[in-house]
C-alpha cells in the first residue's frame, strides 16, 4: 500500500522543487523509517493529449522500478515562459520489514520558451550515476531541438511506434538516432511472444516468402523486418490486416497456431523495457530492414 504526499506551485525555480521534495521525504519518514531508493531517472515527454495515458502507464511502475520520474508537459504556445511544478513523494511499505521506501514524481509544465530547452531543466533533476530512460509519447518531432536535447542526456529512448502514423517511414528517422542512444519500442516488445513462437518453426520457416500479420501496422512491419533481417531475405513480403492487438500470423498462407501464454499487461511491457540497458541489435536490424 502506498501513501502519497504532494506539493505544487506555479512559476517555480528548480531549487523550489528540490526543496519541496526534501521536505516531503522528511514528512514521509516522520511516522516510520523510509529510504529514498532509486534505480534510475525516468523522464517522459508528454505532449498535450497524452497526459492521462502517461499517468496511467506509471500506475504500479514506481513500485517495480523505484525511481525519480520526471513528467514533462510541454505547452510551447503559452503566452508566458514559466514552469509550473507538482512534486509527489510516495511511500511504499516493504512487506514484513516495518520499513518503507520513498519514490518521487515531478510533473513540470513547461510554458512558452521553457519547452524549447528541456535538457537544461532535467539535467538539474537527474539522479547522479543512475541510468536515464526517456519515454516519448506519440511520434517524436524528428530533428526538433527538444528531442535532440533530451536524447543527449538519455541512455535509452523508449517509444511506441504503434502511436505513429505513416509507417514504415518514421522508422528511418528513428534509425538515425541508433548511434547516439539505445532505443526500445513498446510495439516491438509486444511481438516478443510471437517471435519466440515463430523461432520454434526453424528451420522450416527459413524459406518463407510472404508473412501476413493481423495486428497493428507497427507490429506487422516489425515482425516482417525481423524475419527479413534474421533470415537474410530482404524480399519477404508483408500483408497487413489491421487489428488493435497482434491476433494472428500466417506464413505463405498457412496460419501459425497461437503462442502459449497470455499477452503481457501494458505496465509489464514498459517495465521490462526499463530493465534493458544496452542497445538491442536485433530490433535495430529489424527497423533497418523495413526502411531499406
Amino acid at each position: 500500500m502506498a501513501t502519497a504526499l504532494s506539493w505544487q506551485k506555479e512559476d517555480v525555480r528548480l531549487a523550489d522543487v528540490e526543496a519541496a521534495l526534501a521536505e516531503l521525504r522528511g514528512e514521509a519518514a516522520a511516522d516510520a523509517p523510509s529510504m529514498r531508493t532509486s534505480v534510475m531517472t525516468h523522464i517522459a515527454w508528454v505532449p498535450h493529449g497524452w497526459r492521462e495515458k502517461a499517468r496511467a502507464a506509471l500506475e504500479g511502475m514506481a513500485e517495480r522500478h523505484p525511481s525519480r520520474t520526471i513528467l514533462l508537459f510541454p505547452e510551447p504556445d503559452a503566452g508566458t515562459s514559466t514552469i509550473d511544478a507538482r512534486a509527489m513523494v510516495e511511500r511504499w511499505e516493504v512487506p514484513d520489514t516495518g520499513r518503507g521506501i520513498v519514490t518521487e514524481t515531478i510533473e513540470l509544465t513547461l510554458h512558452g520558451r521553457r519547452a524549447k530547452a528541456p535538457a537544461s531543466i532535467v539535467e538539474e533533476l537527474l539522479v547522479s550515476d543512475l541510468p536515464v530512460f526517456l519515454r516519448w509519447r506519440g511520434e517524436p518531432p524528428w530533428g526538433a531541438t527538444e528531442l535532440e536535447q533530451l536524447v543527449g542526456v538519455t541512455d535509452r529512448l523508449i517509444v511506441d511506434s504503434t502511436e505513429w502514423d505513416d509507417l514504415p517511414y518514421p522508422y528511418r528517422r528513428l534509425a538515425e538516432l541508433f548511434p547516439r542512444c539505445a532505443a526500445s519500442d513498446i510495439a516491438w516488445a509486444r511481438t516478443s511472444r510471437w517471435r519466440a513462437h515463430l523461432a520454434t518453426l526453424w528451420p522450416e520457416i527459413a524459406g518463407v516468402g510472404t508473412v501476413r500479420v493481423r495486428g497493428t501496422a507497427a507490429q506487422a512491419w516489425l515482425l516482417c523486418g525481423w524475419l527479413r533481417s534474421r533470415l537474410g531475405q530482404p524480399e519477404i513480403e508483408l500483408e497487413h490486416e489491421e487489428a488493435e492487438t497482434l491476433e494472428g500470423v500466417s506464413l505463405d498462407g498457412n496460419a501459425v497456431p497461437l503462442p502459449p501464454g497470455d499477452p503481457p499487461a501494458p505496465s509489464d511491457v514498459l517495465s521490462d523495457e526499463l530493465e534493458r540497458f544496452t542497445p538491442d541489435p536485433v530490433y535495430e536490424a529489424a527497423v533497418l530492414a523495413v526502411t531499406s
Binding site: 529510504m35 531508493t37 534505480v39 513500485e63 517495480r64 522500478h65 523505484p66 511504499w92 516493504v94 512487506p95 514484513d96 520489514t97 520499513r99 521506501i101 516478443s192 517471435r195 519466440a196 515463430l198 523461432a199 526453424w202 528451420p203 522450416e204 520457416i205 527459413a206 524459406g207 518463407v208 516468402g209 525481423w226 524475419l227 534474421r230 533470415l231 537474410g232 506464413l251 505463405d252 498457412n254 502459449p260 501464454g261 538491442d280 541489435p281 536485433v282 530490433y283
Partner: protein, 507 residues
C-alpha cells in the same frame, strides 16, 4: 515454404536476442514423500509459482509417491489446499487446473516389489501419453533411512531413455562414514552429475547475492582479506523450537542440522576465491578449497548449548528437554558457536566466528564482515566514542539486503562522530517479489544445473570437520540447559569472543 536443406545445418537465427527462458526439457518429476510437510509447504507451492510464470515444460507430469493411501483425485485436492495455504502468488484457478491435470499418485513403500512395478508402469505410460522423452527427476523428500531402498529400486529400473536426475534432501549422512556409504550407494546407479544434493540456503537470492556483491563490484574484493578484515561473524538464528521434530533433532542436533550444511556453505561462499567462471564445477572447486582449508577447532573454540525455559515474543516456552519426544536428560545441543580459521593466504589468522541455534532471541541469518578500525582517527577520543568499526552486513533473512556501517558526523557545532547505516534493501530496489529457494532449485535440477547444489567432496569435507568437533564432545558432559529460550545463547559463547577482545554484533 520451400525446403532449405543447408539452413537445417545452421543455428537458428530467429533465436538471437530472444529472452532466454529457462524452460526445461519435457520430464516427469517424481516426489517420494509426497504426503509430507516439505511437499506441502515448499515443493508444491514452488511448482505452482513456476507454473504461474510458465517456467515448467509444456510436456510435464508430477508423480506423488508415499505410503499413504490415495489416488490422483485426493492428491490433487490435497495439493490444491497446500498451494492455497502456502504459495506466494494469489490462487489462479486456470493455472491450477492446468497443473492439477499433471498430478498423479502412487501408493507404495517400496518394501514390496509390487510398488516399484506400479510406479514404473505409470511413468512409462506418462512417457508415452505426455511425450516426456524418458526424462525423469526423482526427488527424495523422505527420511534418510528410506534412501537405500528407493535408490536400489530406481537404479535397477534405470534405462538409457532420456536423462535422469536424483534430488536428495539433507541430511546427507550422519557422519563422514555414513555420507561415504550413501554416496557409494548412489554411485552404484547414478553418476555424480545426476545427483543433486539440496542445501536450500544456496537457492536463496541473498546467498547468491553474496557472489554478486563480491565478484561484480570492484570495490569489495581488494579489501576482502586479512589485511583489511578484522574478523567475520556468521549467525543462523531461529526463534522457533524443534516444531515436533524430536525424532530427527535428537539424532542431529544443531551441529548436523545447521552447522554441517547451511553454515559451512555460507562460510565457503564468504571466503572462497573468485571462480574463473560461473559454472557448477568452477564454483564447487573454489568452495571445496575453503572447506579443505578450514582449521579443525580445538575444544575451547567450540561452544555448545541447549535451551531451557524462557520467553519468545512474550510467551513462555518450554525447555528443550520438555519438548514432546525429547529425553528428559537429553544431551543434544540446540546451539553451537565456534571460532574457525581458514588456513590460506587470504584469510590466515582471521577468525570466522559462527553461531547457530534454536529458540534464540529472533530469527536472523546474517554474514557480517567487520573491518579493521581506522589506523589513526584525527579526532578527540570523546568525539568518536560512539563510533564502531565498519561492518558490511549481508542480511540473508529476514530484511534481505546489505548494510554498510560507516562513521558520520553528527550535525552541529564541533566534531562528534556516530555510526550510521547505509542500507540496500532487496524489497526496496527490486520489487518483483523474491522467489522461494525451492523454485530456483527445482528448476535448476530439471535444467541439469548443479551450481547451487553441493558436490560429494564438499559434503565429505563438511563431515570431516563435524566429526572432529563431535569427537571432542564425547569427552565432556556440559551442564544443560545452559541458556534460556529467547536469549542469544550461553554465556560461554560470549566468552569465546571476549577472550579475543571482541564481542558478538549488537542486534
Amino acid at each position: 515454404m520451400t525446403e532449405t536443406a543447408p539452413a537445417q545445418q545452421e543455428e537458428n537465427p530467429l533465436a538471437d536476442g530472444l529472452a532466454l527462458r529457462r524452460t526445461p526439457d519435457p520430464c516427469a518429476l517424481v516426489i517420494f514423500g509426497a504426503s509430507g510437510d516439505l511437499t506441502h509447504k515448499k515443493l508444491m507451492p514452488a511448482l505452482y509459482a513456476l507454473a504461474v510464470r510458465r517456467l515448467l515444460p509444456e510436456h510435464f507430469a508430477i508423480v506423488g509417491v508415499a505410503r499413504t493411501d490415495g489416488d490422483d483425485a485426493t492428491f490433487r485436492k490435497d495439493m490444491q489446499g497446500a498451494v492455497q495455504q502456502h504459495a506466494r502468488d494469489p490462487f489462479r484457478q486456470d493455472v491450477w487446473d492446468e497443473l492439477a491435470a499433471q498430478l498423479h499418485w502412487v501408493t507404495t513403500d517400496f518394501a514390496d516389489t509390487g510398488g516399484e512395478d506400479t510406479l514404473h508402469k505409470l511413468i512409462e505410460k506418462l512417457d508415452e501419453e505426455e511425450q516426456l522423452g524418458g526424462n525423469r527427476v526423482f526427488y527424495l523428500a523422505v527420511p534418510p533411512p528410506a534412501f537405500p531402498t528407493i535408490v536400489d529400486a530406481l537404479g535397477k529400473r534405470k534405462d538409457e531413455k532420456g536423462w535422469t536426475r536424483l534430488v536428495v534432501e539433507k541430511p546427507f549422512g550422519h557422519d563422514l562414514e555414513s555420507a561415504k556409504q550413501l554416496t557409494a550407494k548412489l554411485l552404484e546407479y547414478f553418476s555424480e552429475d545426476e545427483i543433486f544434493r539440496i542445501d536450500h540456503y544456496l537457492g536463496k537470492e541473498t546467498v547468491q547475492n553474496m557472489l554478486a556483491l563480491r565478484f561484480a563490484n570492484g570495490i569489495f574484493e581488494p579489501i576482502w582479506n586479512r589485511q583489511f578484515v578484522d574478523h567475520v561473524q556468521i549467525t543462523v538464528a531461529e526463534s522457533i523450537g524443534i516444531e515436533g521434530r524430536a525424532g530427527y533433532y535428537e539424532q542431529a542436533g544443531a551441529v548436523r542440522d545447521i552447522f554441517q550444511n547451511h553454515l559451512l556453505q555460507l562460510l565457503a561462499l564468504t571466503a572462497m576465491e573468485p571462480p574463473i567462471e560461473f559454472t557448477a564445477d568452477a564454483v564447487h572447486n573454489e568452495k571445496v578449497k575453503v572447506l579443505r582449508a578450514l582449521h579443525t577447532p580445538g575444544p575451547k573454540s567450540v561452544v555448545r548449548g541447549q535451551y531451557g525455559r524462557g520467553f519468545v515474543e512474550g510467551e513462555e516456552v518450554a525447555a528443550y528437554r520438555e519438548e514432546e519426544g525429547v529425553a528428559p536428560d537429553s544431551m543434544t545441543e540446540t546451539y553451537v558457536a565456534a571460532k574457525l580459521y581458514v588456513d590460506n593466504w587470504r584469510w590466515a589468522d582471521t577468525p570466522f566466528y559462527v553461531r547457530m541455534g534454536k529458540r534464540l532471541a529472533r530469527r536472523e541469518t546474517t554474514i557480517a564482515i567487520q573491518f579493521k578500525r581506522a589506523p589513526h582517527p584525527p579526532f578527540e577520543e570523546t568525539a568518536s566514542e560512539g563510533l564502531r568499526p565498519n561492518v558490511l552486513l549481508v542480511h540473508v533473512q529476514p530484511d534481505e539486503g546489505v548494510s554498510l556501517a560507516i562513521g558520520a558526523k553528527v550535525p552541529g557545532q564541533g566534531m562528534t562522530i556516530r555510526t550510521v547505516h547505509m542500507d540496500f534493501l532487496y524489497g526496496g530496489a527490486f520489487r518483483t517479489g523474491m522467489p522461494d529457494a525451492y523454485e530456483r532449485l527445482i528448476l535448476d535440477a530439471m535444467l541439469g544445473d548443479s551450481t547451487l547444489f553441493t558436490r560429494t567432496d564438499e559434503v565429505e569435507e563438511q563431515w570431516t570437520l563435524v566429526d572432529a568437533i563431535v569427537a571432542g564432545w564425547e569427552r565432556d558432559r556440559p551442564a544443560f540447559p545452559n541458556y534460556p529460550a529467547g536469549s542469544w545463547g550461553p554465556p560461554s559463547a560470549d566468552d569465546l569472543l571476549h577472550r579475543d577482545g571482541r564481542s558478538w554484533r549488537r542486534h
